[in-house]
Symmetry: D2
Subunit: 360 residues, 4 copies
């Protein structure tokens, strides 16, 4: 990556007081391209300092002093003058309208909310998976008459799955994937899951999650066809989603049916050799290895592997033949970093590197 | 069931000091047909009183006073004179030879060990699933020249799966089942899993478990053919086994392919109407309902449902269409009761009720 | 206890939808003296059936069918005609006024709320500790002009402490007690503690708990002096309260300074020989042993001992000399049974047995 | 600190395969003064490569490539030629003799084992607490005729307590401290505590821990008197030790009796202004702040504060009056870093900085 000599781009976080908002703030500290200049949240905070409006909840980290005294402003474009890029950690109940208002006002919106993910002109973007979907932005801006645009990151459980499948799709074709997720409590936000519901327990249900995992995976592994829009991958996905007693890290047990035969060695080689665009470009938040394959018989494990690549890698293991489909394997991703704030920061870096943030 | 007027049958527990051994003792307290008269374990205990040889580990229960002063004898038939029925909680390293020695000595062995489960003349028995496999005993005794016999219960994760599938197989046929298990730490015995390995963690590997789950399920859902032996069910099984941070209860997320079409209502009706032999016979340890279907959107849950039917029922829920196979569902079973000691006690009750324990 | 030939007394639960309310319902099922005839909660439930207004949360138990169809009425005396005894599981924000309204209307109120616990004319009652405080009722009724009355049970962490100290006070005198509590998450109610706050964590703070523990203990171990009111015990109490990752059971590590010398054997004898009024009277909810002393070096333990005496006993252990005070010991009590609903049911039973419920 | 221009000192780890041994290796990676050149453990490993002899267990870290191929040699001085400094993570069963053999052979031993901690000529050293105890080394070498010497770090629960008390002792005098510890499972080593023993549980007993905590604290807060030896501080200590379900971090609730009156502000000022020798010298492993006082009402918390100062700070909070002694407070320390390997590395750094490692 060329050294950064220009001035950093001023950015803001929408929904800055919640857990994903805090992750955005944490990840933007000292960012080489983006300068966090403003924080926005619901009107109830009415201009109070961030340190007064927020209880910092990230473990092993303190509220950065740079943001403690920033006022928490309303989530309206006019409250954020000069800001051309926003990261949205807004809840689904309000994200839809607010994000559109910013795009309409000429702002690039990188969103973690679910609202626009499946829209026919909004990229559901993982730079390692479908960087070419970024082409939909031109269509989106034209179609909607927006000077800005919206790009979303994927659901936290769909992200590691798509990262694991993409190189398999490219090399061997993927017909079917049937998986069970074992998801961390932080995926439910804060306060999220009552402790009495999960201690010594498994909850085999997460509202809407199975549907999202199934549809988002097909969209991301599909293609953007000029004049036709997004075309889903011809891939059957079936998900069982469960909540288990872990803090961070979604672990997924998947069985996959490939189109062409492949040996375990070939598959592992494809995963380990995977070096997609973010790694080629050296994006600041891109992990050295997008995919890490563990050869130990019992890895990846949630507590031991979730922080690999600073929480931005997907960690794989246990590739073995499946009696029903081609192979079984395990994949793990950090849900509040790669599967949320980190994913959107990487999306913004890709846009920056490809010149999409310069004409705003 | 007719009232029990005869004298109770004297029984013993092999491997009485471990966790499954303790469960056997607990379940045999006040049993209407069996009288626990002796305890056996490894020679190291050399005749010490049970209360000295053992630390009682079952939660919410105390060592029964009746057994506290019993001497712990060696696992040899001659050390257990007059005992015609033994329950084996022996570890796999020693169970094979010891159990055969007892059968050779004319004792009926009801075993929780894995050693003989897949033998071609040993029933792998769940009374609600394959009571007819008991017919193999006559062949076993003749073939091996044993006056006694061996009957095994199934692996703790295979048990609730087989119970869930059997009525589906009878009503609609089952072609394929692909599942992920979320298994409790007690499944690893004691001391078993180090706490540092599982707190805030998932371990997506249990040695040998996936193979056992796959092969045992096919055997149990298969048939015993006179002159031909056990014939596996024509059913493809693929399992992912994981360990999670729960004390008891194995929860399983399964996708199943049926041979014939069935509506969700029909399937639930088949499960709820299931009334197999143990329930017909009113066996003392048989739960009122072998299968319980929960209609809540997020049930069964490990901590809330594992004790249903005193730990002897399998609890089902979340039946819904699968995008790849016919249906997805969740099933839960108590691993140290139904999936271990309780399973073998029920096996012995079935044998008793059908007259197999009278001629020993 | 004489057999109960009279009609059972009709009772109601206030705050019936929460966790303590559910415990009340659970404990009143099949009660020999009380018949649960009505359920009340906040007006928002507006007469809906209990099964519609409530999600049953007690583990290993189902909503009793007898209450499922009961309408949830408002917490006003006129909405509960014919009810002369209510059990209050109301939150502190509303309990004060509501409970007074019932007492004013002639109802006996047995409350788990904190509001009236420290009032100068309200018994803070543990039948095994200060049954004689019940004498304050006559004063309360006269003073306030109420045909009914209010009796409260103690805070969940104060209860096992007071039970442990009372026999020591009687036998040896108690000057000081300094303790640390390790309290279960259910003590915070439902939804209570977010899971992300407690998994792999200890929170060394529970708002208001240390103050309650200190003041309630002094009141309960004190005396009711006719014409003078409640006189605190001359006992210094200092508490550190922490929240740990357990479902039920408050464990407390205490150092105690006695007035007179006593050997460990004498202390244990006093505890084990303790047979206060509820046990003498054979009250239906009284455990056989109010205090159980465990001689193992590492007991009591939360998960293993909390259900002793169906959750109504206090379990003691580890008595040993303290380098600073006389002795150290550990005590454990079930917080949602003995320390909440069970405590109030036992209070009502004591009142019944002593004739306080007949003239309402 | 002057820049390090000399060659690094070659060091080895004894007991390199266990959890504390792994922490030593982790902390010595890239150390400016020490170069890890050899690894030793029990003879059973017989010269195998470290990567074959060891399963790396530290979360979020991999076995350093520099050590993976090192042979694991025996714990004998002749097997470690050229090594003048060893860090001992040996278990108590063998540490005594082995450590003495090394000291006798002219090696400086920095030990985490308990064996020599209370010896009358061995410093029990926390550089922030009793750096002057290092003077005992000259006596130890002369008395025992050893060219080398042994220095121990304190028990993991005694360490944060001593750090919290030392500045209070200096400023106000400390007469008594009564505390309860809530200790993490990693304190029991690996495999250590069975998971079935601790999930949903508290164990109010840790063998030998209370005695160690009491005696070590008095030694560390005492003085080294030339010609007289170690003189215990005139301080009464009483400890209750418990095990809770946390991975790392020992949290302690303490009540302290001071000799002189002090306001909360004065105490907090003393803690926050504490800047002992390691911080003055800028030792590489010394945290910027030895003591961190949190002003939030509910801190420190185990999961949120254990990593403060890279696990080398003690974190304080909740200072408030005690109804019995002067004050109550909470202190937290990382048990496997500051309370074990990190403590000994800091001890070695202090010795290096003060010239004790140059004449070996």
């Amino acid at each position: 990556m060329a050294t950064q000599t220009h001035k950093r781009i001023p950015v803001a976080v929408l929904g800055a007081t919640g857990m994903v908002g805090q992750r955005f703030i944490d990840l933007l500290q000292g960012h080489p391209w983006f300068e966090l200049v403003a924080l926005a949240a619901s009107e109830q905070h009415g201009g109070r300092a961030y340190s007064e409006a927020t209880r910092w909840r990230l473990p092993n980290s303190e509220m950065p002093t740079e943001v403690a005294s920033l006022p928490v402003v309303a989530c309206r474009p006019e409250a954020l003058p000069g800001v051309k890029v926003v990261f949205s950690a807004l809840p689904g109940e309000v994200a839809g309208d607010i994000e559109e208002a910013f795009a309409r006002a000429g702002v690039a919106v990188f969103s973690n909310a679910k609202n626009h993910r499946m829209a026919s002109d909004v990229p559901l973007l993982i730079p390692e998976v479908n960087a070419d979907h970024i082409a939909a932005i031109a269509f989106q801006r034209k179609e909607r008459g927006w000077p800005g645009f919206i790009i979303t990151n994927a659901n936290c459980s769909a992200t590691p799955l798509a990262m694991a499948l993409k190189p398999l799709q490219d090399a061997f074709g993927v017909r079917k994937v049937l998986l069970t997720t074992l998801q961390a409590i932080s995926g439910a936000g804060y306060p999220g899951l009552p402790s009495y519901d999960i201690l010594d327990n498994v909850i085999p249900y997460i509202g809407g999650e199975e549907e999202k995992l199934e549809s988002e995976t097909r969209k991301m592994l599909g293609s953007w066809q000029e004049g036709q829009g997004f075309v889903d991958a011809p891939l059957a996905v079936s998900a069982h989603c469960t909540r288990v007693s872990t803090r961070e890290g979604h672990l997924e047990c998947a069985s996959v049916e490939l189109e062409r035969e492949a040996s375990p060695e070939e598959i592992i080689a494809v995963w380990e050799g995977y070096r997609p665009l973010p790694q080629q470009l050296g994006l600041p938040s891109a992990p050295e290895q997008a995919l890490i394959y563990r050869r130990e018989v019992d890895r990846p494990q949630t507590v031991r592997d979730r922080d690999a690549g600073k929480g931005m890698s997907a960690v794989l293991g246990r590739l073995r033949p499946c009696p029903i489909f081609s192979y079984k394997f395990v994949v793990l991703g950090h849900n509040t970093i790669r599967g949320a704030a980190g994913g959107s920061v990487l999306n913004a870096e890709l846009c920056y590197a490809q010149g999409f943030l310069t004409d705003l």
